[in-house]
Symmetry: C2
């Protein structure tokens, strides 16, 4: 079956009858519900509250937020329309101040807005632009998936970390997109999902999304990955990336570096699946990427249950840096970069 012809089983975002519907990821996996948004403010609330998460998914949601607002305000006079749109851009930009894809998507939408004067015509263009952005992300992920799937043998047991799936993107996913593409190419694939403390994206989201599609998945604690590798139970590791430096160093969810070190010891391929938009050529190497330190409450308990003693000090780095030397290959929409380094990454942009 061709990847593009398969209807996605998990539709994180969908545009229906002029409204944006998004899976409320705060409720997963215990409840599966769509949240319906009819304006920019509602989308901003959904982003801030993490009903939608994952950088590409946030970017798409913000673009739809602008489209929604334009539709609603299109009967106003041009000046009033313009004011309403300014407010919408501001509200969305403030919803997740560190999300790079959010600003990138808003910049794209602002360029479309600047091209017209008639509110009705501009609103139509903005809806088209949001849908185009959504479909472009989906196609990028499918291209990443095809590139990576070529290196996934039949029967592969793939270890992944965090959630890099349909739930984090317009659909298909990056690292999980590779799994989906390999499955779509007729390969038997099974996934080992590390739970990904502290926020448990692996246990909550990856396990749920793979179960939905009938892809076999086994959940483990993050600590069990080394044991499974030592017993020969892992054929490859595929993860996503939050940001890739010019030399190929990868910033990704805390715990990624540990998996790369373990994979090297056990001679297991360690792959990173990410779009070119994740490569930040303005950053020379991983040491220059700041690591976000998050709050203690994520570590001392979960969902109202506290298990650590009051007053204990906590270190909660959200990301770590995997040196390029530990990356067997990078999967991008422009193909595979084996043993990534500065020269090979530069060459990627010229392909």
């Amino acid at each position: 079956m061709n990847a593009s012809s398969r209807a996605p089983a998990v539709e994180t975002l969908r545009w229906r009858d002029g409204r944006l519907e998004l899976i409320d990821q705060r409720l997963l996996p215990s409840r599966f519900e769509y949240l319906s948004c009819s304006g920019a403010a509602e989308v901003a609330v959904a982003i801030r509250a993490m009903a939608v998460r994952g950088a590409p998914a946030i970017g798409c949601a913000a673009a739809f937020g602008i489209a929604l607002e334009a539709q609603r305000e299109k009967h106003r006079a041009p000046a009033q329309f313009s004011d309403a749109m300014d407010t919408a851009f501001k509200t969305l930009a403030e919803s997740r101040p560190t999300a790079v894809n959010l600003f990138w998507a808003l910049d794209r939408m602002r360029a479309v807005l600047a091209q017209g004067r008639d509110p009705k015509a501009v609103a139509e263009k903005l809806v088209e632009a949001a849908l185009a952005l959504f479909h472009a992300d989906l196609e990028t992920n499918r291209a990443i998936g095809r590139a990576g799937a070529a290196l996934v043998p039949d029967g592969a047991r793939v270890l992944t970390h965090c959630n890099t799936g349909a739930l984090a993107t317009a659909g298909h996913g990056t690292a999980l997109g590779v799994v989906r593409s390999a499955r779509d190419a007729g390969k038997r694939i099974s996934v080992i999902a590390s739970e990904t403390r502290p926020y448990l994206q692996g246990a909550r989201l990856t396990a749920w999304e793979l179960t939905q599609e009938g892809i076999p998945v086994t959940l483990i604690t993050d600590s069990a990955a080394g044991h499974l590798m030592s017993r020969g139970a892992v054929d490859m590791v595929v993860v996503g990336a939050d940001r890739i430096a010019a030399n190929g160093d990868v910033a990704n969810k805390i715990g990624t570096y540990t998996l790369a070190v373990l994979a090297e010891r056990h001679r297991i391929p360690f792959y990173v699946a990410a779009p070119l938009s994740s490569i930040d050529t303005s950053v020379a190497d991983g040491a220059s990427i700041p690591i976000e330190e998050r709050g203690a409450a994520e570590v001392t308990g979960y969902a109202g249950v506290r298990w650590a003693p009051e007053g204990v000090a906590v270190a909660n780095p959200a990301f770590d840096i995997t040196p390029a030397a530990l990356v067997s290959a990078l999967f991008t929409e422009k193909g595979v970069v084996e043993r990534p380094d500065a020269a090979r990454i530069r060459a990627l942009f010229d392909r």
Copy 2:
């Protein structure tokens, strides 16, 4: 200050007015309460329910359980006393069938029982034997602590895993005993405690017990250890052992192996603190040690909160194997074994 003269801040087990009192570890860290036991059946319930855990602590509790039962039954005729004691041994032996120290302690108590006929005299001997066993464990831990502390520099930041402290033993602890001994020797020590998913012994017990004694402790997720090592924030790793093979391979809490691999990469010493009773010379190497697979519920949630989707497959190995080649040194009550191997471990028993 001399280690032996310091009154322990955490008294896991205490013998008071002919009763056994033990910290109910199920309630930690939110509540600190002693459970009082007056017979073998009550002690068996406490062991089964994990109110007391940690192999050495379980062994001591079982010995006290026998002593309690003997005290209570000592006014009976010899035949009835003997029957009551048989029942007590059976009840305690069934409380945690995989705990090696439990059987070892019960065997010691049975030998004492066999030496006398008069219930009153035997009961007195059994109380003495239980107290001797308790104090011997405490002294063993203090000797391990002294041996290890010599290698801990002033200002050391020590990463540890699981709980190997006073709560797991008669007192002082094994890996945490090294920390206590270094502190008692006047060194400034701080601890990084990995939370130790799935059962969270690091977050719940190690963090609590160190906080009680004013030893600085920082709690992290298991996944964050590699990042901290890469940033130069860890000076050494000290862990305990559930079982050590004749060649020095170490079976310990899941996640230990990962810490050893990371420590080797960063040239950080990786130490194992354990009594000689943990060395099983009947097992040639780690590959021969069976790894207990525990239930899925530990991984899919915690304390009534479920975060993984229903029906997801789970792998939950409770232990992993760290090859001897990754162990910088073994700390025992007979001193330090650098770069342990079969010959050096054999020699240890002749010291």
